[in-house]
Symmetry: C2
Subunit: 356 residues, 2 copies
């Protein structure tokens, strides 16, 4: 397969020279776009969007038609994997994801098996292939999955949670059961990301949304260790090109050094840490992706430009920065503010990429 | 006023020698105790518990009757202050606090005034005095308030929030209005804590529950700066005794160094950071309070003992550690597990306090 005509993202993730700082946004295909809402209305619900490759392709491409973004990201959901394990995913409007059969009993956990992505997640792989064809090598396509611990949170809680009571109870009372879930998840996710890569994902990202709710020893034992298991099993190049891997841990900036040593190419960081300070801490080990507060996109254009400039200056001169938000874009964001941000990043970043 | 017979907490907060590590628990008077639920049922609702000094005294003392805790903490709520400003606090069962009149319009914000605690928060001061009499100098009484930014979150959102959309919109669109709210709050809270100290609080704690949702520059400008304004205005001794001040910032471990330099005596830290690492970062500037994951109290006694031992060992030899949870105790905690924790801290900590 040919390299995308705009390979700025792939180069930045590998810490290679680029002319400017590439930018994409977590959840860039989403509810802040009227065209997304129109497609979703046609599809009927969110899960149908994910499971139908035509719809998934359509919404993946929508933000690229509007904004000069440097990457596409597969439209899907991290919970497709536990759904493929038979937990029965559905979405309740305004309340988020729910599993019909959360993991509570020991026999349910012992019965858990890693699904074959070619069989049980075929629709995702078909979407990856179809999006690649539709992209026609314009920009790279990012594939993704949730982290083993993050999926375990949803699988054990049965949905979103504020206190993670069930999963933490298992962590402290029956760590053997939790580790079994995490191991099955890690094997499932390794196969899943490798399949996405085989079907055309040119970079992949692991979303560790909930690793940050753990104590430091529990984070290392229950989240990072299983991310490392995935990293060790991933196909890191395809058709002669490196496939960079990004690890994003919301609320995880206490452990940046350990994340940088885990074997990924880039770290996503949320907006609570200064990017320059994060760069000092990880050194030359990894690229960094982030880290504008999504709420800054509510501000006036000149404030968005100022905030983008502040983050670019904080990272400073040199390569290895991918501009992004520190979390998914809010559904209440005015779409025209995204254009302001993309233009600001592209323009303001050139000064940091001049030849020495 | 005389010094409490057990002044271990006060000494630890001032980094003075103690025989063991003192322990108390955030929200130690709460729904995990059947006797608390009985009093609350008699009172009718949560706010009546706070507003009636007899009830507040009764529930403040309940955990001390059960466990060998080293401190009492005033039973109250951080939102009594915006309630005293006229925002109309009420609690919706299962949904948390709500304000009838959240701050949305510029004129509402410009009209905001710092309440006189002697007039508008008299019931809190009466509770402080009554609890002190009931404690009879057994252990010290901790007073508290929310941080200016944390209160602003509730005042502007109108209640709890997951995305802090309204307050962040104001931060980026109308920072002048947000800073006005923060300044009024800081003045109100300074007077409020000073009044608590005058009526008998022997240490005070500032709860910055939501500072951790901000970007690093916004945290410094909107949260820490106004905490510093309070710290600069507090009466730091009463009747010849120092009144230590604890600052707790949930999710705030990115900024420990700045917090330690802000002028408080001790920092509360949540469970996501290793206490030993936190101690390295703050050096000899402040004492540290924390940091067991509240969910660890669901575990079997031997696991609770192991986790307590791990945290004590992480802080290591020497003074200046107050054992606590990293957040409020869960309502689902078995009360007998609290006894296990208190005993474990008292026993296991003695080895770290031996004379050199």
């Amino acid at each position: 397969m040919t390299r995308p005509r705009n390979d700025t993202l792939l180069r930045a993730l590998m810490r290679q020279p680029t002319d400017y700082t590439p930018v994409w946004l977590m959840r860039q295909a989403g509810r802040y776009l009227p065209e997304y809402n129109a497609t979703r209305a046609r599809a009927g619900d969110f899960l149908t969007l994910c499971k139908n490759p035509d719809f998934a392709t359509e919404v993946t491409l929508q933000p690229l038609a509007r904004f000069g973004l440097d990457a596409a990201i597969l439209f899907s959901d991290i919970l497709t994997v536990p759904d493929a394990m038979g937990l029965g995913l559905h979405f309740v409007d305004g309340e988020g994801p729910r599993f019909e059969r959360p993991l509570r009993e020991e026999w349910e956990i012992r019965d858990l098996e890693a699904p074959d992505p070619e069989v049980h997640l075929r629709y995702v792989l078909d979407a990856v292939a179809q999006i690649r064809r539709a992209l026609d090598n314009q920009v790279p396509l990012i594939g993704f999955c949730g982290s083993p611990f993050t999926l375990a949170c949803y699988m054990i809680e049965g949905g979103s949670s504020h206190d993670f009571l069930h999963v933490k109870r298992m962590l402290y009372e029956r760590p053997d059961l939790l580790h079994h879930v995490l191991d099955v998840n890690a094997r499932a996710l390794t196969a899943y990301l490798n399949a996405q890569i085989a079907y055309g994902a040119q970079a992949v990202m692991i979303f560790d949304t909930w690793g940050g709710v753990l104590s430091s020893p529990a984070y290392h034992a229950c989240s990072l260790a299983y991310v490392q298991q995935i990293l060790a099993g991933l196909t890191r190049s395809h058709d002669g090109h490196a496939v960079p891997v990004i690890l994003f841990t919301k609320g995880g900036s206490n452990w940046l050094e350990a994340q940088a040593a885990a074997g990924c190419d880039a770290l996503g960081v949320d907006w609570t840490i200064d990017l320059g300070r994060a760069r000092e801490r990880v050194g030359a080990k990894v690229a960094l992706q982030g880290n504008l507060d999504p709420a800054a996109l509510f501000a006036a254009p000149e404030v968005i430009e100022r905030e983008a400039g502040r983050i670019l200056a904080s990272f400073g001169a040199g390569h290895g920065h991918v501009f992004n938000l520190g979390h998914g874009i809010s559904q209440h964001t005015p779409p025209e503010h995204v254009q302001v941000l993309v233009d600001a990043v592209h323009t303001l970043s050139r000064q940091y990429h001049l030849a020495p």
